[in-house]
Point group: C2
Chain length 205, copies 2
């Protein structure tokens, strides 16, 4: 079983890539077919990975899905960080931050996460995997939003306004799964940007 | 098939009650087992209705679930109207309205609705049943909230703030499915009540 250092690295790299392909395919399947419609067969087909190799890495749907929770968490963090880096500076910064968050919460990674959240509601094993990572994502997204808005959390009520902003976009994301809601969402975010600017500005003074 | 008027009414009533029992059991199953875990067998057992009678009224899971969408819509309207009738008057009215909405969006009927929304995301037949009723519930909840808050929708930005309030409680409801979130939610709603009082009050002046 011992291999020379020179060949072990490529093998590890191949394993890492195959796992990543399987997890990426799991996320795609969750988006397209939902949690119930996602099967290990469908995932291995989509990933272009043999059934044997898939079963070696993830013997059950549960193994696959629990690993996909972690993969998706990392993916959400990367997506938000990349979008944050593209944000313009200037006066409509707040509105641009809200747009960025709304894009994230109405995109495919939100749909995949939503499938996992709702499945976890009635599946204890999945919940045990989802809950701690969700808390981590929540904290990181909060910290990023505070930073992007230039909010001062030591000011009374600021922390709660930032939290409310994230719950608002989560609610908008959920609404958007039923009907395309872009126009209504745009008007709500315009209004909320005004409220945030006023309150955060006032409290920073 | 013609029956005397005197016996037709009880028969119709029995049918109505049996359908209601089946739909109520469907909602309970959605809350406890999720959409994927809800089967016609489980529903007929829980309703105490024979398999034959259940299949007569709702031949497939899809028939049952589509009918449950309508039943749940009515149930949500009744729950909100009853809670609205119990609301206290007075200065903390806004906070009480938010509590009422948050209770609704973190309760079992929200969980059942969430299961249907998410299943409808990847199921066109279900989506066709869910989308128009969801729009109706949305409009009715909006109207009720405007009335309870005493908001003047002719004032600029008021409509959007009320909409944001409903999206916020929807987002809080979704967060609460993963972790019990009551303390955080309480602080956010305190803050939101202040924002609403200030903005709605200002614009009514």
């Amino acid at each position: 079983m011992t291999t020379a250092a020179g060949t072990r690295v490529p093998q590890e790299e191949r394993t890492r890539l195959m796992r990543a392909r399987l997890l990426e395919a799991t996320v795609d399947c969750l988006v397209e077919h939902g949690f119930a419609g996602t099967s290990t067969t469908l995932v291995s087909e989509r990933a272009g990975v043999s059934r044997g190799a898939q079963l070696h890495h993830f013997p059950t749907k549960n193994d696959l899905v629990v690993a996909a929770v972690e993969h998706l968490t990392a993916k959400r963090g990367e997506e938000l960080a990349a979008a944050a880096a593209r944000l313009p500076a200037g006066t409509r910064r707040t509105r641009a931050v809200l747009d960025m968050l709304a894009d994230h919460f109405t995109g495919p990674v939100f749909s995949a996460a939503l499938e996992l959240w709702v499945a976890a509601r009635t599946d204890e094993t999945l919940l045990a995997a989802v809950a701690p990572l969700e808390q981590r994502v929540g904290r990181e997204t909060h910290r990023l939003t505070v930073e992007l808005l230039g909010a001062d959390e030591s000011a009374r009520g600021t922390r709660e306004l930032v939290q409310a902003t994230l719950d608002l976009v989560r609610g908008l994301g959920l609404a958007n799964t039923i009907t395309d809601d872009a126009r209504r969402r745009g008007r709500i975010l315009d209004r909320w940007a005004d409220v945030l600017d006023e309150h955060l500005g006032k409290e920073l003074r």
